[in-house]
Protein backbone atom coordinates (compact mmCIF):
# COMPACT_ATOMS: atom_id res chain seq x y z
CA UNK A 1 0.00 0.00 0.00
CA UNK A 2 1.90 3.00 -1.22
CA UNK A 3 -0.97 5.40 -1.61
CA UNK A 4 0.07 9.02 -1.39
CA UNK A 5 3.70 8.17 -0.74
CA UNK A 6 5.04 9.08 -4.16
CA UNK A 7 5.50 12.79 -3.75
CA UNK A 8 6.96 12.94 -0.30
CA UNK A 9 8.98 9.76 -0.20
CA UNK A 10 11.20 10.53 -3.17
CA UNK A 11 12.11 14.04 -2.12
CA UNK A 12 14.91 13.31 0.30
CA UNK A 13 16.79 10.89 -1.91
CA UNK A 14 16.60 12.89 -5.12
CA UNK A 15 17.61 16.32 -3.93
CA UNK A 16 20.18 15.34 -1.33
CA UNK A 17 23.11 16.27 -3.54
CA UNK A 18 26.25 14.42 -2.42
CA UNK A 19 25.51 11.44 -0.25
CA UNK A 20 22.50 9.28 -1.09
CA UNK A 21 21.91 8.21 2.50
CA UNK A 22 18.34 6.92 2.88
CA UNK A 23 16.40 9.34 5.08
CA UNK A 24 13.91 6.77 6.32
CA UNK A 25 11.07 8.91 4.98
CA UNK A 26 9.81 6.06 2.78
CA UNK A 27 9.16 3.95 5.89
CA UNK A 28 7.06 6.68 7.50
CA UNK A 29 5.13 7.22 4.26
CA UNK A 30 4.35 3.48 4.08
CA UNK A 31 3.02 3.56 7.66
CA UNK A 32 1.13 6.74 6.74
CA UNK A 33 -0.61 5.01 3.83
CA UNK A 34 -1.55 1.89 5.77
CA UNK A 35 -2.78 4.03 8.66
CA UNK A 36 -4.77 6.24 6.31
CA UNK A 37 -6.67 3.21 5.03
CA UNK A 38 -7.32 1.91 8.56
CA UNK A 39 -8.45 5.31 9.85
CA UNK A 40 -10.75 5.83 6.86
CA UNK A 41 -12.32 2.36 7.16
CA UNK A 42 -12.84 2.27 10.92
CA UNK A 43 -12.68 5.63 12.71
CA UNK A 44 -16.01 7.09 11.46
CA UNK A 45 -17.84 3.98 12.70
CA UNK A 46 -15.95 4.07 16.01
CA UNK A 47 -17.03 7.70 16.55
CA UNK A 48 -20.66 6.82 15.77
CA UNK A 49 -20.58 3.93 18.26
CA UNK A 50 -18.73 5.48 21.23
CA UNK A 51 -19.91 9.05 20.68
CA UNK A 52 -23.55 8.56 19.75
CA UNK A 53 -24.91 5.00 19.95
CA UNK A 54 -23.56 4.06 23.39
CA UNK A 55 -24.64 7.25 25.26
CA UNK A 56 -28.06 7.39 23.54
CA UNK A 57 -31.30 5.78 24.62
CA UNK A 58 -32.77 4.80 27.97
CA UNK A 59 -31.02 2.63 30.54
CA UNK A 60 -32.17 -0.70 29.09
CA UNK A 61 -31.01 0.18 25.59
CA UNK A 62 -27.76 1.63 26.90
CA UNK A 63 -27.03 -1.52 28.92
CA UNK A 64 -27.67 -3.76 25.91
CA UNK A 65 -25.42 -1.69 23.67
CA UNK A 66 -22.71 -1.53 26.31
CA UNK A 67 -22.88 -5.33 26.61
CA UNK A 68 -22.55 -5.77 22.84
CA UNK A 69 -19.58 -3.37 22.80
CA UNK A 70 -17.92 -5.13 25.75
CA UNK A 71 -18.48 -8.55 24.18
CA UNK A 72 -16.80 -7.48 20.93
CA UNK A 73 -13.90 -5.64 22.60
CA UNK A 74 -13.25 -8.59 24.91
CA UNK A 75 -12.76 -11.13 22.11
CA UNK A 76 -9.03 -11.48 21.41
CA UNK A 77 -9.18 -11.32 17.57
CA UNK A 78 -11.04 -8.02 17.92
CA UNK A 79 -8.42 -6.80 20.40
CA UNK A 80 -5.64 -7.59 17.92
CA UNK A 81 -7.56 -5.83 15.15
CA UNK A 82 -8.26 -2.82 17.38
CA UNK A 83 -4.58 -2.55 18.29
CA UNK A 84 -3.65 -2.68 14.61
CA UNK A 85 -6.21 -0.05 13.65
CA UNK A 86 -5.31 2.24 16.57
CA UNK A 87 -1.53 1.95 16.05
CA UNK A 88 -1.58 2.49 12.28
CA UNK A 89 -4.14 5.30 12.52
CA UNK A 90 -2.03 7.07 15.16
CA UNK A 91 1.08 6.85 12.98
CA UNK A 92 -0.97 8.21 10.08
CA UNK A 93 -2.21 11.15 12.14
CA UNK A 94 1.15 11.95 13.72
CA UNK A 95 2.90 11.80 10.33
CA UNK A 96 0.34 14.21 8.93
CA UNK A 97 0.66 16.48 11.95
CA UNK A 98 4.46 16.48 11.55
CA UNK A 99 4.13 17.50 7.91
CA UNK A 100 1.46 20.04 8.84
CA UNK A 101 3.89 21.67 11.28
CA UNK A 102 6.62 21.57 8.61
CA UNK A 103 4.23 23.26 6.17
CA UNK A 104 3.46 26.15 8.52
CA UNK A 105 7.08 27.11 9.08
CA UNK A 106 8.78 24.37 11.06
CA UNK A 107 10.47 22.67 8.12
CA UNK A 108 13.93 23.30 9.58
CA UNK A 109 12.89 21.14 12.55
CA UNK A 110 11.82 18.23 10.31
CA UNK A 111 14.27 15.89 12.02
CA UNK A 112 13.61 17.05 15.57
CA UNK A 113 9.84 16.71 15.06
CA UNK A 114 10.22 12.98 14.47
CA UNK A 115 10.71 12.22 18.16
CA UNK A 116 7.56 13.87 19.56
CA UNK A 117 5.42 12.79 16.58
CA UNK A 118 6.44 9.19 15.96
CA UNK A 119 7.52 8.69 19.56
CA UNK A 120 4.13 9.99 20.68
CA UNK A 121 2.35 7.60 18.31
CA UNK A 122 4.47 4.73 19.64
CA UNK A 123 3.80 5.66 23.28
CA UNK A 124 0.05 5.96 22.69
CA UNK A 125 0.08 2.60 20.88
CA UNK A 126 1.86 1.00 23.83
CA UNK A 127 -0.78 2.45 26.13
CA UNK A 128 -3.54 1.07 23.85
CA UNK A 129 -1.90 -2.38 23.93
CA UNK A 130 -1.75 -2.29 27.74
CA UNK A 131 -5.40 -1.17 27.94
CA UNK A 132 -6.58 -3.87 25.52
CA UNK A 133 -4.61 -6.49 27.45
CA UNK A 134 -6.56 -5.50 30.58
CA UNK A 135 -10.07 -5.87 29.09
Amino acid sequence: MSAGGGGGAGGGAQKGGGSARPSGEAFWWALFSAGGVMAALFVPAFVIVTGFLLPAGDEMVAAERAAAFAQAAGWWPVKVALLGVITLSLFHCMHRIRHLLMDVGMRRYAGALKLPCYGGALALSGWAAWVLWGI
Binding site: M1, S2, A3, G4, G11, G12, K15, G16, G17, G18, S23, G36, V37, A39, A40, L41, F42, V43, P44, A45, F46, V47, I48, V49, T50, G51, F52, L53, L54, P55, A56, A62, A66, A68, F69, A70, A72, A73, L82, I86, S89, L90, H92, C93, M94, R96, I97, H99, L100, D103, V104, G105, R107, L124, W127, A128, V131, L132, G134, I135
Partner: protein, 128 residues
Protein backbone atom coordinates in the same frame (compact mmCIF):
# COMPACT_ATOMS: atom_id res chain seq x y z
CA UNK B 1 17.20 16.59 4.54
CA UNK B 2 19.76 19.38 4.27
CA UNK B 3 20.48 20.83 0.86
CA UNK B 4 16.80 21.09 -0.02
CA UNK B 5 15.63 24.52 -0.97
CA UNK B 6 12.22 25.78 0.01
CA UNK B 7 10.95 29.16 -1.09
CA UNK B 8 10.26 31.28 1.97
CA UNK B 9 6.57 31.89 2.57
CA UNK B 10 4.24 33.21 5.22
CA UNK B 11 3.13 30.59 7.69
CA UNK B 12 -0.49 31.36 6.71
CA UNK B 13 0.22 30.74 3.00
CA UNK B 14 -2.76 28.36 2.91
CA UNK B 15 -5.23 31.25 3.24
CA UNK B 16 -4.25 32.52 -0.19
CA UNK B 17 -6.33 30.16 -2.31
CA UNK B 18 -9.44 27.99 -1.77
CA UNK B 19 -7.45 24.95 -2.94
CA UNK B 20 -4.76 25.56 -0.32
CA UNK B 21 -7.53 25.95 2.26
CA UNK B 22 -9.05 22.59 1.28
CA UNK B 23 -5.59 21.03 1.61
CA UNK B 24 -5.20 22.50 5.09
CA UNK B 25 -8.64 21.33 6.21
CA UNK B 26 -7.78 17.82 5.02
CA UNK B 27 -4.50 17.90 6.93
CA UNK B 28 -6.27 19.20 10.06
CA UNK B 29 -8.60 16.18 10.11
CA UNK B 30 -5.62 14.24 11.47
CA UNK B 31 -5.46 16.47 14.56
CA UNK B 32 -9.08 15.73 15.44
CA UNK B 33 -8.76 12.03 14.63
CA UNK B 34 -5.69 11.75 16.86
CA UNK B 35 -7.67 13.44 19.64
CA UNK B 36 -10.55 11.06 19.14
CA UNK B 37 -8.25 8.01 19.19
CA UNK B 38 -6.98 9.09 22.62
CA UNK B 39 -10.59 9.34 23.84
CA UNK B 40 -11.30 5.94 22.25
CA UNK B 41 -8.44 4.30 24.16
CA UNK B 42 -9.69 6.02 27.35
CA UNK B 43 -13.12 4.49 26.64
CA UNK B 44 -11.52 1.05 26.30
CA UNK B 45 -9.61 1.66 29.54
CA UNK B 46 -12.88 2.40 31.36
CA UNK B 47 -14.30 -0.80 29.90
CA UNK B 48 -11.37 -2.66 31.47
CA UNK B 49 -12.02 -0.93 34.79
CA UNK B 50 -15.42 -2.60 35.17
CA UNK B 51 -19.08 -2.21 34.35
CA UNK B 52 -19.76 0.66 36.77
CA UNK B 53 -16.80 2.72 35.60
CA UNK B 54 -17.74 2.14 31.97
CA UNK B 55 -21.39 3.12 32.57
CA UNK B 56 -20.31 6.32 34.29
CA UNK B 57 -17.93 7.21 31.43
CA UNK B 58 -20.55 6.54 28.76
CA UNK B 59 -23.14 8.61 30.63
CA UNK B 60 -20.65 11.50 30.70
CA UNK B 61 -20.24 11.12 26.91
CA UNK B 62 -23.89 12.11 26.56
CA UNK B 63 -23.23 15.66 27.79
CA UNK B 64 -23.61 18.48 25.25
CA UNK B 65 -19.87 19.27 25.30
CA UNK B 66 -18.82 15.70 24.52
CA UNK B 67 -21.60 15.42 21.92
CA UNK B 68 -20.26 18.52 20.18
CA UNK B 69 -16.73 17.12 20.32
CA UNK B 70 -17.94 13.90 18.73
CA UNK B 71 -19.77 15.81 15.99
CA UNK B 72 -16.45 17.49 15.14
CA UNK B 73 -14.59 14.17 15.34
CA UNK B 74 -17.14 12.49 13.08
CA UNK B 75 -16.94 15.30 10.52
CA UNK B 76 -13.14 15.04 10.55
CA UNK B 77 -13.14 11.24 10.25
CA UNK B 78 -15.70 11.26 7.42
CA UNK B 79 -13.81 13.99 5.57
CA UNK B 80 -10.58 12.03 6.00
CA UNK B 81 -12.23 8.92 4.51
CA UNK B 82 -13.82 10.85 1.63
CA UNK B 83 -10.56 12.57 0.67
CA UNK B 84 -8.41 9.47 1.26
CA UNK B 85 -10.56 7.20 -0.88
CA UNK B 86 -11.07 10.03 -3.35
CA UNK B 87 -7.33 9.82 -4.07
CA UNK B 88 -7.47 6.11 -4.99
CA UNK B 89 -7.36 6.64 -8.80
CA UNK B 90 -4.20 8.77 -8.48
CA UNK B 91 -2.52 6.85 -5.68
CA UNK B 92 -3.52 3.25 -6.39
CA UNK B 93 -4.70 2.74 -9.97
CA UNK B 94 -6.61 -0.54 -10.27
CA UNK B 95 -5.97 -2.72 -13.31
CA UNK B 96 -8.04 -5.61 -14.63
CA UNK B 97 -5.48 -7.23 -16.89
CA UNK B 98 -4.43 -4.41 -19.20
CA UNK B 99 -7.52 -2.34 -18.57
CA UNK B 100 -7.40 0.45 -16.00
CA UNK B 101 -10.58 0.85 -13.99
CA UNK B 102 -12.20 4.28 -14.30
CA UNK B 103 -11.84 6.69 -11.39
CA UNK B 104 -15.28 6.40 -9.79
CA UNK B 105 -15.36 2.60 -10.18
CA UNK B 106 -11.96 2.16 -8.52
CA UNK B 107 -12.98 4.56 -5.73
CA UNK B 108 -16.04 2.43 -4.99
CA UNK B 109 -14.23 -0.92 -5.27
CA UNK B 110 -11.13 0.11 -3.31
CA UNK B 111 -12.64 2.67 -0.94
CA UNK B 112 -16.22 3.70 -0.46
CA UNK B 113 -17.62 0.16 -0.81
CA UNK B 114 -15.40 -1.47 1.86
CA UNK B 115 -15.79 1.64 4.06
CA UNK B 116 -19.61 1.47 4.06
CA UNK B 117 -19.52 -2.32 4.55
CA UNK B 118 -17.19 -2.12 7.57
CA UNK B 119 -19.19 0.76 9.07
CA UNK B 120 -22.50 -1.06 8.58
CA UNK B 121 -21.18 -4.23 10.24
CA UNK B 122 -19.83 -2.32 13.27
CA UNK B 123 -23.04 -0.30 13.74
CA UNK B 124 -25.19 -3.41 13.23
CA UNK B 125 -23.24 -5.29 15.91
CA UNK B 126 -23.96 -2.63 18.53
CA UNK B 127 -27.61 -2.04 17.52
CA UNK B 128 -28.67 -5.65 16.92
Amino acid sequence: MSGQYHRPHRWAWWTERPGYMRFMIRELTSVFMAGYLVVFVMTLARLGAGEAAFGEWIAAMGSPGWMAAHVVALAAAVWHAVTFFGAVPQAMPVFLGEKRLSGPVSQIVMGYGPWLTVSAVIVWWVLR
